[in-house]
Amino acid sequence: MKGKAIKESSPMFTKILVANRGEIARRVMNTCREMGIITVAVYSEADRKAVHVFKADQAVFVGDSDPSSSYLNIDKIIEAAKQTGAEAIHPGYGFLAENPLFAERCEQENLVFIGPPSRVIRELGDKTIARRTVAGSGVPVIPGMNRPESDPETLEREAAKIGYPVLIKAAAGGGGKGMRVVTQPKDFREACISASSEAKSAFGDGSIYLEKYLSRPRHVEFQIVADQHGHVVHLFERECSIQRRHQKIIEETPSPVMTPALRERMGAAAVAVAKASGYVNAGTVEFLVDQGGDFYFLEVNTRLQVEHPITEMITGLDLVRIQLEVAAGNPLSITQENVRSRGHAIECRIYAEDPEKGFYPSPGKILYMQEPSGPGIRNDCGIYSGFQVPVEYDPILSKLIAYAGDRNQAIQKMIKALEDYVILGVKTPVPFLIDVLKSEAFIKGDTFTDFIDTHFSDWKPNRCDADAACAAFIIDELSRAGKTKAATAQGSADQSPWQTLGPWGR
């Protein structure tokens, strides 16, 4: 028998399947390995050489490159877990992470889903149900409708009641899909039709509802963790206002807009939302903060967020470890009183995309890379030199995180790290991010969701080292010409077609 002094604890899992790919799968596996948990990766045809396959103790092939045949295929993921004897599944973010059917299936199959119960995912996934739940707990919601509606006349009446500009949103929404801003009544009906059809194709559900459109808000979210014993703790905020195509690209914590009083009120609201919804495990409560400093509930993300590392940096906590402890049934080892935030952390998302061409995707082969390092630098990375970045999946390559004593130092550290980050073979937003971080608006903390449109709509990098770049070109020509003579016949498997085309010069 255990003595009274020993805290009762549930046994930790011995084997976990990670139902994701790339940097997040790798990140989850890192914590598992630290905890002595055996990891199982799943991979698709396109990901045979993906980094998460190499980092796992076991890897199961689950199907074709198309996500619906592999990472989104519930039957295959469950089968992989059964076949390998995994006791729990970590869904990462994206793919099946917020799919209530998947969580439910895990529950039925006696596999632990490392996330909230399926009921909670379902209720918070429907934005109108979430709004009703939250409004009932006394947390401010953006003025608008609490039920989806399809009748155009009712929608028009509601829009008039809310007052233009209004925002049309998909009830099943996320990622900016099915979202439309309407500034005048004459455009309203057409916008409803297109929003609904976009929502239908993105989520299989065309239900829409209306919210008051807030101009120039900030996007501020609170990390929460909740155990199965009714304890809920918030781990402070993350400011995520710098977005392109409604997707975050730079996040930081603390938020430049935050005051201790506002943090206390918003943190309490986030905890209230979690309690009202019966939340368990790690989650994020998103708010919009308007110019007057009032905040409104936006939605709950029922998963580990892409930007979770900045919270880990300032709190010193490992959120995946907390997720695993909670999923195993253990109570939180932290309380609201003993959680401390220290310093400032910034994350930049490094996507395979071209910042000079509207952030268009830029898949391809990584020909060379050099990761930045140094005190306070963390790079959660899903690629390596020689890796072919697949066209089938999200273009995120890595997440670069800088941590320092205060905001200015964190900005300086991030700029230096970005300048040191070399990725050749695909285009990345690195030069764009450098300019954002150097901009007066960012340094002042004037970060609103329209930041990029306002300050960087027609951005080009300042190419002040063109002479040196041309010199490098010429030296490359000369040294290749020398080498070709020396080793013409020597073929190399990792050469790209561009290399095998031969020297360009004379």
Binding site: Y393, A468, I475, S479, G505
Partner: protein, 174 residues
């Protein structure tokens, strides 16, 4: 030796003179550059440009080479090579004359079949790259001669996905 390099929209002629194993003198438009260099690897050079240290990272790309210095990419091509490889390969702004994806992608939906009549600007095919869908349109009025791909196919820039026989004088709309 002379190098005519195209960097962005600029064309710069460099006179290059090798001074030693690790030293080259460059000049353009009255500007003199003394370069000491170490080729660290195929992708990394350490330079002293008029005495100032520079780390340059380099890789071949579709139009020449990409050089990254302090996080900023420079896209540099040999102007003579670019010219001989043919003109008309303009940027995305110009109306494309061929139906080809702007980046490596997967065919999501075919919206036309062989023999279909199309008008300039009609949507003909949807491709997806990294979860972002792009709809390609007919460059001119005409008839679909051939559909060269199927849904699910991986396609590359430059690959003609759909052939269209243009009508006589197709650039004008009736």
């Amino acid at each position: 030796m002379e190098y005519r390099l195209k960097i962005g929209e600029d064309l710069i002629s460099f006179q290059a003179e090798k001074k030693g194993d690790h030293n080259i003198a460059l000049s353009h438009d009255g500007c003199l550059l003394d370069i000491e260099y170490t080729v660290v690897s195929n992708h990394h050079q350490h330079l002293l440009v008029n005495g100032s240290p520079v780390n340059a990272y380099i890789a071949p790309d579709v139009n020449g080479k990409t050089v990254i210095i302090k996080g900023i990419p420079y896209f540099i091509g040999d102007a003579d090579v670019i010219e001989t490889r043919g003109r008309g390969k303009k940027g995305l702004q110009a109306i494309p004359q061929e139906i080809t994806p702007p980046m490596p992608a997967v065919v999501v939906r075919l919206l036309v079949s062989q023999g279909d009549r199309v008008n300039q600007g009609d949507k003909v095919i949807v491709v997806s790259s990294m979860k972002m869908e792009t709809t390609l349109t007919a460059p001119a009025d005409g008839t679909v001669r051939a559909v060269n791909v199927a849904e699910g196919d991986k396609v590359m820039p430059g690959q003609i996905l759909i052939d269209i026989d243009k009508d006589e004088g197709a650039s004008t709309k009736e």
